[in-house]
Symmetry: C2
Subunit: 207 residues, 2 copies
Amino acid sequence: MPKVVDPEARRRTVIDALFRVVVREGLQRASLRVVADEAGLNIGSLRHYFASQGELMDFAMRAMRDRVSARLERRVAAAGDLAGLPREERVRLVTGLLEELLPLDERRRAEVTVFLDFNGAARTNPAFRPLAHEVATGTRRLVHRALARLEQAGALRPGLDAGAETERLVSLLDGLCLNAVLHPEVLTPERCAAVLHAHVRELTRED
Amino acid sequence: MPKVVDPEARRRTVIDALFRVVVREGLQRASLRVVADEAGLNIGSLRHYFASQGELMDFAMRAMRDRVSARLERRVAAAGDLAGLPREERVRLVTGLLEELLPLDERRRAEVTVFLDFNGAARTNPAFRPLAHEVATGTRRLVHRALARLEQAGALRPGLDAGAETERLVSLLDGLCLNAVLHPEVLTPERCAAVLHAHVRELTRED
DNA sequence: AGCAAGCTATCACAGGCGTGATAGAAAGGG
DNA sequence: CCCTTTCTATCACGCCTGTGATAGCTTGCT
């Protein structure tokens, strides 16, 4: 009966425009008017799909989380059951999974940039806090499981506390993201990956 | 001839108010009117000491940098020449210096919070970029020197690349700051310090 | 054809922002 | 005392923001 537009697709183009604006000019510049312009839409049209600014932001950030976590789960699934794999293969797979969290190409760079801005905003914006908290615990769980899988294979150096190492690795990854996004000329993707590799190598080194 | 107010002191009270606002409500909420209210000043009065918003921000961020770097230099000076000190003493001093960069008490927590917001803004605000870059290279230099001092004492594990370890330690510190500020309930000051201690211990461990 | 629902486009309003301009108060030096 | 400089306090302007309201267009079903 109505028009022929797919609302799902429309919302996707809008939040893609939002992400472009956030990456280019920051979250605080992502007003309804600016995003609408970026999407080539009229603001009234945009508001037909997102009743309010809060709704837009909420939808966008959930979409971002879904996109990333889908990629991570795909990667985990592709790795399959690690049981029976040789030690080096496990280390390689786990490292690849952790690399997925770093801004090593343009796509991941954009995602990480948005996440950083969003997390920063979540500190003072109560509306963002639940999702930010969820993402934080989600990555912790992922990293913890990654370390646990190494431990199961006996690939982890003995005497390491899994909890403490999780915290260390999570903070290292976040710090790498931060520096790679804010100072890309000093922390290039190559150096970024190299630091992660060195860290994992140290965790899995046998004495 | 004029009034009796010390402009230096006035500016300090203003930027202290600014810092309080940034910590409590974020950098983007730190408008001239809000900061003036927080300082108990009229906006016109505030503008007598800071001609524009840019000037206020610039002054505030430089003041923050000066405050932190002064504390760091004091600490370095207090440590004095490390030559001749026993290995464990060196490690202890270096660890203490690095702890100065973490939000382990309210003062450092406020500083780190402001710095994170400021750095985030610097990504898209050209006016902030020079100072943000300077701070970033400054911490790198500090961390690099700290590691070098350990190396001089033979306290560093052999086979470590100083440059790579600097990058790793800087990112770890930044990540710890980020998580401690954004998720204080999961990364408490104690855990934060513990992670740093574990890292330094690992760097200085002999096999 | 015509109705209804989905969609696009605009207008208006209130509120916050930085800033230029300006007027008045305060206070020490002549 | 008064004059000059510093300081405080307000007003107004233009811009941008989110949002409520509304009118008009498009499209497909009956």
